[in-house]
């Protein structure tokens, strides 16, 4: 089990992350030159054939999204890089932008060409100030070589200011437009009505990096790793009780246990050395017990058998001493604070969960919590409210994870 490096630059690469040399060395110059000679529909066909799915968490087929934006009526179109990475335990986009910002940006330029957008935004969380500087330098490099500018696509950085919900795509549009970053009701979807009501393509940083490496090579190369369902590689972010915390790139289909234990990857469970649970996919993710970790692969079909998904690729590792009630209470407080409050199921639901957690009744009021969770999933207008109860419900489904003193 070795780490693959495609989205992340090869170790030992000599050129600076924002240098013109890096563009050549990583093949991004070639990627953009190749894409610019293709028709938009050929580009979109290649993205579809590659099987790339969105890496922000929803795993929506990227080629399909591009064709929807491309076909949506409207003279003005936009593309947006979502770098508002704020999900608990998630830091892959930060590492990607620190190490290789020209990759995602090249993907953004190709995306703009494919859907006919002349204006792009990179929305980055305000706490990533140092990363923002790297991103700005990389945009400057692309401007110098003529790939960004008035004749191609203008790229503007927008800095968030500390609001988790602003990472939700329609809330992000509102933030850029100078409104409160509250999610909009969908439909209409961003592919038809996004920024200022125009068709907008919004993608996660890692998705765009996939596009860049695809066009630097070809579909066959891209599909050499991964599974039939999900070709390619995924960045996973390991943290917590693990010997080698960090971001690793692995093919889809890699056993979850290998990611934790391989010496080149997680290097095994730290703390007591005995695995308690893994929270996969962030605060809105799923807890896996030790047996599930042993028996699952990092792929959607395998994980769906245990009710889990890859989400952002965050893997938070807890040894067997961690009281998950404490973790769940902390996450409940987070969602109650970050709920924007405009829709009732989320505003009240996140509060109720927090109250139950703080009163020490998480494990005894499971039926109430399940009903509450269902109401939030059914009736909240955005992903925050819909997914806020997921990790909690996944823990309730695994009573063996409950900590007994």
């Amino acid at each position: 089990m070795t780490e693959i490096r495609r989205l992340l630059p090869e170790t030992g690469i000599m050129s600076g992350p924002t240098s013109v040399e890096r563009l050549t060395e990583r093949g991004f110059e070639r990627a953009m030159a190749r894409a610019m000679l293709m028709t938009p529909s050929d580009i979109i066909a290649e993205v579809s054939q590659s099987g790339i799915k969105g890496r922000g968490g929803a795993a929506f087929p990227t080629g399909l999204k591009w064709s929807m934006v491309s076909q949506a009526p409207g003279a003005q179109k936009y593309v947006v890089m979502n770098a508002d990475e704020s999900e608990l335990g998630t830091f892959k986009d930060r590492v990607l932008l620190e190490q290789d910002p020209l990759g995602p940006l090249s993907g953004l330029v190709i995306a703009a060409h494919a859907v006919g957008a002349r204006k792009a935004f990179c929305y980055i969380r305000g706490e990533y100030r140092e990363v923002e500087q790297v991103l700005a330098a990389a945009i400057e490099t692309l401007r110098r070589v003529g790939l960004v500018g008035p004749d191609t696509v203008e790229v503007e950085i927008r800095r968030g200011a500390g609001a988790y919900i602003a990472g939700e795509e329609t809330a992000l549009f509102n933030s850029i437009e100078g409104m409160r970053p509250e999610p909009r009701v969908k439909p209409p979807f961003p592919t038809n009505k996004g920024l200022w009501g125009s068709p907008t393509l919004i993608q996660n940083v890692e998705t765009l990096a996939n596009v860049a490496v695809l066009f630097a090579h070809d579909v066959e190369w891209f599909k050499a790793y991964g599974t039939k369902d999900t070709p390619g590689t995924k960045l996973v972010a390991l943290s917590g009780h693990i010997h080698r915390p960090g971001v690793y790139e692995v093919p889809f289909g890699t056993p979850v246990a290998d990611i934790l234990n391989a010496p080149e990857l997680g290097g095994s469970v730290a703390g007591t050395g005995r695995l308690g649970a893994v929270l996969l996919g962030g605060a809105a993710g799923t807890f896996l017990n030790a047996a599930e970790v042993q028996n699952t692969l990092l792929d959607y079909p395998s994980l769906s058998k245990v009710g889990a998904s890859i989400g952002s690729g965050a893997m938070m590792v807890f040894d067997d001493t961690v009281d998950l009630t404490w973790v769940l209470t902390k996450m409940a407080r987070f969602f109650a604070e970050e709920s924007c409050g405009q829709c009732v199921p989320c505003r009240i639901g996140t509060r109720r969960i927090l109250e139950i957690a703080e009163s020490g009744n998480l494990w005894s009021r499971t039926q109430d919590l399940r009903e509450l969770g269902q109401a939030m999933r059914d009736a909240s207008i955005c992903g925050l409210g819909q997914t806020a109860p997921l990790a909690l419900l996944s823990a309730l489904d695994r009573p063996e994870l409950r900590h007994h003193d």
Partner: protein, 149 residues
Amino acid sequence: MDTQNSAVYQVVSALLEDLPRERAQLLPALWRVAESEGYLSQDAMEAVSKILGVPSAEVFGVASFYSLFEGEEGRVPVYICTDVMCALQGAQNLKDAAEKSAVNRPIAVKESACLGQCDHAPAAWIGGKVLRRASPEEVKTAVTEVRHD
């Protein structure tokens, strides 16, 4: 407030001089003022409202939504990540150290949700710089070095 002539209006006006007068510039405008002045005062938000032509209630509505605009007059915020991964690795010790060295200084210690530095937990964000795998000692030093002019 007699806006056009007030000192605050002059300052904000200079800060926003090259920004297009449009609603979409509200967040960048608020950032410029917050970074330059250290916080967003009521008068500064009034000035932004006048300059961009956005109703002042809406300027306040937007500004108050974002936690990084919660600064107060004369107190520089420093952030300690106390989310799950950092809490597991000793964030409380960092917070205690920060609070101790903030005593008698114009500094507000704030708990932050996940800063996205979990591979380097525990983390803090002080004076625009992220401290990774921070020790209480490092936090103490960083807090005492925060500029507050």
